[in-house]
Symmetry: C2
Subunit: 230 residues, 2 copies
């Protein structure tokens, strides 16, 4: 589904260079379920942003669904991204002026083959809102929600287009263990349907639900498997 080949990502900060990724190569076959772990600043979100085609590498190649992303222009990239990928951001990126329902619907407006919201779309919105426990809050806005409720809106929104690839950046960071288990249950079902899930987490309880774990350190893959310290 997605393959990174010797990926480098460097940010220029004034005269300072931050080498966020320093040569990352990894293959994610379809149906994979991977947890990316590692210390704060080790490059996890940067890697996920590249996988989500939200950013381009400084060096190296990213093959997404058979296309080399560097050979696609921005429009082609947007189209592929919207069709294939659902992204749960580390800081949610909800639209403050939109209600919960409108936020969940945002990806539906980016579909190239269907511009209107059908009744089956609406049913799917209501169903997902119910799955994340927000059925009663559809007409409220982000500032009226708790941190965990906002996170759950971001999760529902990422899933509305039935994406083949789900990229989740700390999807349960603001959720208590019961709610976390419900979300992990949902992700497990999606993976069982054949979807590819790549999630960043720093919690072993979440990481062990995945099929394999990748550990990042200083912009490189340092190892595989769970941390053994807790």
């Amino acid at each position: 589904a997605a393959r990174l080949i010797d990926i480098h990502k460097t940010y220029q900060l004034g005269e300072h260079l931050v080498r966020a990724l320093r040569g990352v190569s990894v293959d994610f076959p379809e149906g994979d379920y991977v947890a990316i772990m590692g210390s704060s600043g080790s490059g996890k979100s940067t890697m996920l942003n590249l996988l989500g085609a939200l950013d381009r590498p400084t060096d190296g190649h990213y093959i997404l669904a058979g296309h080399d992303v560097s050979e696609l222009d921005d429009d082609q990239l947007s189209e592929i991204r919207n069709k294939l990928i659902g992204f749960i951001f580390q800081s949610y990126n909800l639209i403050p002026q939109y209600t919960v329902l409108e936020n969940i619907q945002v990806p539906l407006h980016y579909r190239t083959h269907q511009r209107t919201i059908s009744s089956s779309d609406m049913n799917r919105c209501l169903d997902l809102a119910g799955r994340v426990g927000l059925a009663e809050r559809l007409d409220h806005r982000p500032f009226q929600l708790s941190g965990g409720q906002q996170q759950r809106v971001a999760i529902a929104r990422a899933l509305i287009n039935d994406p083949e690839i789900i990229l989740a950046d700390e999807p349960t960071g603001n959720l208590d263990s019961t709610t976390e288990q419900e979300i992990m249950q949902l992700l497990g079902e999606l993976n069982a349907e054949g979807r590819t899930i790549i999630m960043v987490t720093h919690e072993n309880s979440v990481a062990r639900k995945a099929k394999q774990q990748i550990i990042m350190k200083d912009g490189k893959i340092a190892g595989f498997g769970l941390f053994s310290d807790d």
Copy 2:
């Protein structure tokens, strides 16, 4: 240090009433170290916002450092809050246009008895930035930082005025376990110095560092002590 007496907080949402807190009474003596746990939406952040005098209860009394908060006007409240309380927000609330250093310095500008930044202030900024592992990033802005790095700026900022009361809303939600341990170490030292710490967390590994735990459910205190399920 802080006492809640039969606190109610109700939000009006159109014709909908959300009763976020439904009769909460609890005393936090000086030097206390309490973890507040409970499911998403149970009222934890609302309680912390009231303790931080960032919001007023719909009913009940809040006694902060001997003053009934309802008898203080907004200016008096601001002054007490800035002098006594350091607040780590669930969504950080960093100022995007300010650098890391400028963000850490924000509370210094609100001091009523000293409007300029002295060299000892500056030393404290550098020291705190070092304590949270951000000494090299002082001139960068939030968008150039990872999620956990942004959280650490919020932590340093909350501590810059040497507050007597530290209110922390999920202070390690975006931190890996090593960085989390460093932050918990720092909070432990501050409590050993006599400061009162009230922190919201949904992680047992964090909650067990506190002296006691309070469990919230549906806007009320449902019990005390750690969750036994993980």
